[in-house]
Amino acid sequence: MIHRILRARGTSRSSTDEVASQAAVRLEDVTHEYGGRGRFGSSRERSVTALEEVTLTVDTGEIVGLQGPSGSGKSTILHAVSGLLVPTSGRVELLNTDLSERSDRERTRLRRTHVGIVFQRFHLLPSLSARANVALPLVQAGIPKPARRKRASELLESVGLADRTTHLPGELSGGERQRVAIARALASDPDVLVADEPTGELDTETGRSVLELLTTVGRNRAVLVASHDSETLAVTDRVVSLADGRIIDDGRSGRSNTPSS
């Protein structure tokens, strides 16, 4: 089933072939501060430095884990890579495109086309079936309903949920919901997959199967996984350690796949 996705991906990546052998994601001296300005431009709100001069590269086919305590900047990196935020300074490149030079609309389009996101809490629409949730990202692209349904059904089948297509999220287990979320993240056949604590809400057994799925579908993509969980980080090719918004170990100096708990 999973191989079907990979096959499908192989036939539909013409737009990104030119960057396939390059770094899919590149952060250069990225600093980001939250706050610093209160309402109406006042300076009452204290600023918090979430990232400080972070430089990081993720190649296509590489699975990179981000580890560090809460507030260390893991999610901020994921948001920056996804174009959900523009850092205060520095440069974020997605497939050789400098996101900081792009408008919000352009970043949204790039994200929709090239980035798949998996959340810790799934964030599925409770009123829509699993298939409709998976098909959601395709709505924006204006893909007709029959094609959306077909694509969503194939993706659900590939994550082992062929018999759950019409179920509402509330009728699914935690593991099944995360599989639906992964299928949704793959809907646009993205080049980059980011996952924020993908097993955080799952038991060990279920988390393991989700990780297996994530590593399989991420094989031909650049994957960033933020997690506290050592078992999750163990499946990555490289673990980047963060503290107070700084990278303290980029995982290239012999420490990859040996995360500290």
């Binding site: 560090g68 999610s75 996804s82 389009r109 959340f119 964030h123 009123s127 709505v139 924006q140 204006g142």
Partner: protein
């Protein structure tokens, strides 16, 4: 954006909106009820306004009088001290001389004192007219005709016909029937005259808003002491079938510049113009009803947007545009508006029937609420407006909530 892409997105947005509404039936029902109540308020209050005006117009039309002549804007609650026309019979004769005028009839208003016993009198408004007509629809007995009396007897200083038509409620209050005698006077202390009850009818009561008696104009003037000046409130004129009321009105206005000459339609308009407080009250009630519906519904939907902010933020993160997210919630507002509008319109005739039945039994007014198609259109228009406002507000809220701050930070 291609047309097909837009259509695909629109269909998807509508589908998602319907799914979200179906997912929360309690909240959806509350919102629909809120809009329906706002619509119902508008249709009922508008229906009341239309009904009041229509009753006035019907009354004027039923009186078969095309032209109304008076000295001041009409005040139906005025006492006899405000009969502005002097030399009524002479003016009426002059008006009747116009080629297009078929007949004229003066009407005077004056409060008199009446009782079943001469020492137990109560004040009641009276209408003085030369003769009653078929539109009185007498509950008992009949009317009077003193036209010839006036012509033959001239201006008598005392009542001569001494006949009276009572409102049925007054007859009940006095415990008198047709053929009985009632005592009538110009003050509470003295009842100088004995009138015979010739009939009971609420014809004038329904226009004046209080229980009224009807007596011959000549007798009323004698009671009021205005026989010499020959005062009246109105002189009405019935026109020939092919006459143009506006033309006749203009010609009579030229001939009698000291008086206000109006067509029936103008008379209703003048009546309403003299009552800005009534109109302002009606408009305020409608506005408050609309505002209440809008506030209630938008509050509900703002709450919905707040509850869904995590999902909205996630969808935004997945690449859905703010516009699409706003449309997803906005369409819910439009659907709520449409459903609430339909429910409100369906309930309107039921409520109107109930309220009309109630008004008939309590105050004796039949069909006081009337709902022509324009009233329904106004109600449905309101529903669309409410839906649109809700759509705009919730769409705005959706855009506001679709931020990464609502996703988890690490």
């Amino acid at each position: 954006m291609s047309a097909s892409g837009f259509y695909v997105r629109l269909c998807a947005v509508v589908g998602i909106a319907i799914a979200m509404l179906r997912r929360s039936p309690g909240r959806t029902t509350l919102s629909v009820v809120a809009v329906a109540l706002a619509v119902l308020s508008v249709t009922l209050l508008s229906g009341l306004g239309v009904g009041v005006v229509a009753m006035g117009e019907d009354g004027l039309e039923a009186s078969a009088q095309d032209i109304w002549i008076t000295g001041d804007p009409v005040d139906p609650s005025a006492s006899g001290t405000q009969n502005p026309i002097v030399g009524t019979h002479e003016v009426a004769a002059t008006v009747a001389a116009h080629d297009d005028v078929r007949a004229t009839a003066p009407i005077a208003m004056h409060d008199i004192y009446i009782g079943a016993e001469p020492d137990d009198l109560e004040r009641r408004p009276s209408v003085g007219i030369p003769q009653t007509h078929s539109r009185f629809e007498f509950e008992a007995g009949g009317g009077f005709d003193t036209v010839d009396d006036i012509d033959e007897n001239g201006r008598a200083a005392d009542p001569t016909a001494e006949e009276i038509v009572l409102d049925p409620a007054i007859a009940t209050s006095l415990d008198v029937d047709v053929g009985d005698t009632v005592y009538v006077g110009a003050s509470r202390e003295r009842a100088d005259y004995e009138f015979t009850v010739v009939g009971t009818s609420s014809y004038y009561s329904q226009y004046l808003g209080s229980e009224t008696v009807t007596i011959p104009l000549n007798d009323q003037q004698a009671l009021a002491g205005t026989t010499g000046t020959d005062r009246a409130t109105f002189i009405t004129a019935t026109l020939a079938d092919d006459a143009d009321p506006d033309t006749v009105e203009a010609e009579l206005s030229d001939a009698h510049p000291e008086y206000d000459v109006r067509t029936s339609d103008d008379q209703v308009s003048a009546f309403l113009e003299e009552r800005p407080l009534v109109i302002a009250s009606g408009v305020t009630l409608v506005a408050l009803a609309v505002l209440g519906g809008v506030v209630l519904t938008t509050n509900l939907f703002a709450l919905v947007a707040a509850q869904q902010r995590d999902e909205l933020a996630a969808l935004r993160a997945l690449g859905l545009s703010r516009r699409l997210l706003a449309a997803t919630l906005g369409v819910q507002g439009v659907i709520i508006g449409l459903l609430g509008g339909l429910v409100g319109l369906l309930l309107t005739p039921v409520a109107v029937a109930g309220l009309n039945s109630l008004s008939q039994s309590v105050i004796g007014f039949d069909s006081i609420l009337r709902t022509p198609p324009e009233v329904y259109a106004a109600g449905f228009g309101l529903a669309i407006v409410v839906g649109s406002i809700v759509a705009v507000i919730t769409g705005f809220r959706a855009g506001r909530y679709a931020r990464i701050e609502h996703l988890r930070h690490g």
